[in-house]
Each structure stands twice: as C-alpha cells, then as structure tokens.
Symmetry: C2
Subunit: 203 residues, 2 copies
Amino acid sequence: MKLHDNRHAPNPRRVRIFLAEKGIEVPTVQVDLMAREQKSDAMKRLNSLGSIPVLELDDGDGIAESVAICRYFEELHPEPALFGRGAKGRAQVEMWNRRIELGLLMPVAQVWIHGSPHTAKLVKQIPAAAAFNREVVARFLGWLDRELAGRNFLAGDAYSVADITALCTLDFATGLVGIALDPALAQVARWRAAVSARPSAKA
Amino acid sequence: MKLHDNRHAPNPRRVRIFLAEKGIEVPTVQVDLMAREQKSDAMKRLNSLGSIPVLELDDGDGIAESVAICRYFEELHPEPALFGRGAKGRAQVEMWNRRIELGLLMPVAQVWIHGSPHTAKLVKQIPAAAAFNREVVARFLGWLDRELAGRNFLAGDAYSVADITALCTLDFATGLVGIALDPALAQVARWRAAVSARPSAKA
C-alpha cells in the first residue's frame, strides 16, 4: 500500500493529518504536480480522473478522493473514531464535513481557479467568479464564527475529520489562495489555534 | 422523526430515493422554498444554514445535508447496504459519490446559479461562469461515459448512494437547469434508463 501525495496541495494533507491522528504510517510517493505527473498513464490507471491523493492498494487498485481514503482507514483502524460514534454522531460528522466542503472548500477552490496568478495559465479565468466566491467565503466564515461559540470542535466535543477538512481549507485559503481572514472572527481564530497546535497539523 | 422535504428540489429527492430503496417510511413535511420557509426561525433552529432537506430527530435536533441523513439511516437500517460493504467497498462508494458530487453536481449547481432564469432574481449572475461550468459538465460526462462501459452501477456491481446522487443530478441538470445531454453518451443513457426504472426513482 502506498499514498500518492504532494506536500503543497491541500487535499493530500487532509489524508496525512488523518493518518497522523490515527497513528498510522503509510509509505508515500511525492507526485510532481507542476510536471503533471498525476496525469501520467501509470497514475491514470489508479485514478482515471488524474487527481491526487490516491491510495494504491496492494491488489493494484486505487482509491481516490481524500475522504474516501480516510474512510478506508477508519474501517481498518476504528480508533480513535474520526467519523463520529453512533448513528447520530456519525451523521453529525458527515453533516459538518459536508458543510465545510460545500460551503468553504468549494468557493475557496473557485477563488483559486478564477483569481490566482498560479492558475492563470491553466484555465480561462473569470475574475467576477473569483470576486463572487470571495463573498461566499466571507459570509460562510461569519456563520461559522457564530456556530463555533461555546464549542471545542466543529461536530461537538470530539475532534473529527470535519476539523481536518476545515483546517486544511483555511490554511490553503490564507496561504496559496491569498484570502485574508477578518480579525473579528474570534471563534474561528480560537478554534484554528487549537487544532493547529495538535502534532498532526505538521503532517 | 420527520423529514423536511420539497418535491421539486434535487437534494431532498436523494433522501427520498434512499429511503425507498431501504423500504423505510418517514413522515415528511413540505417546505415552500418560494416562500423562503427554509429560512424561518423554526427551520433555522434545526439547520442554521437554512437549507433543506433536514431530518428532525425526536430529541429536537436537526441533521442537515442529504448524505448525512442517508448515512444516519444506513446506521439504523444497514440492509440493503447503500454505502458499500467492507473497507474497500465502502471506500469505493465514498469515492464515487464524491466524484459525482464534486465533478457533476457542483458544476451543474453553478450553471443553475449563474445561468438559469429561475435564479436570476436571487443572485448577481455571471453568465461566463455558467458557460465555463457547462463545459466542465460536458467533459465530466464524457469521462463518465467511458467509465460506465461494462459496468452496471457507478461503484461496481451493486446499486449505491452514488447512483442516487448521479440520477438526481442528471434529472435536475436536464430538467430545471436545461442542460441537454449529448446523445453520443450511450453508456450514461443505458445506466440512466436502468436506475430510472427502479421503483425508488419515483420517490
């Protein structure tokens, strides 16, 4: 088994943090995105969409999509539970992970695609789409700040995959994408400092 | 327990089909989206994002996000398994559900938001974003057609939540959103006819 990884991309980091929280070590291979290695024939046999991360299983099959890879490891190593406990707890983690993905990661990705000088050569950028999604991100973060009041982690008292998704998204947003966080978002800042202080955040 | 539902929106239908496949009956309440009932104080106590579907539990808490609601019922009623079996099977269903959501549902939603006369009064539309995402949808469907060759269902031999997501997305795309499917997509058409013929598709 090996993880096809990239140190600079936000999605493979989600898997690395998940594995660090579980205490699982998996051999990794760095994929050079600038050289488009993820689009090679060998990589497309593992994931025909040509994206990373991909987990290459011992039978030669590939599992793509960060959360699918995380769920595979949750099945193999249930503790500590990062997808929640019990029917309601698992539903709440799923809900929160999706809220962050759909409400934050997707619009941040649109700002990246349509507003970053890094991607300008890859797509025909629409600057208005970047501006539109910057507003979506700002509104969502305002909502998130209110939700985080009195709460340690996104889905409640326990750290979960939803916190991982949110941390990687925020670090990507304020890093490569260049979105500035409003300093008034005190709850987001408190939560972010706490999850960033966990050893897994360095993964 | 009751499901806050809407007969015309694509996401609540995902839950209704899932319940029909499981043979579970849940009382539903119709939410009038045109009257913005989903943004009422009562609805926001269940889901502060003010979106539907929402499952109202007997303890008064709400579970939002279609897939989170489906996962709740998968935990309570594991058979027939719609999220896959075993670690690899579950990872493959998760992968396929996400491929459809991120690669198809998200761009279809962008076409809806930025290109539909139905949403023109709700947002400041960016016609170029609609056109951009129409191309994303067309490319994805071409890839999906190749992937479906020799395969009964998206994640393999068993019908899964990924098929539900794809069916609801395609019906929304070709219905309300007004995207025409390329008739050359023979595998997509074959798969769609098969999943549309299941009794659950009427849910």
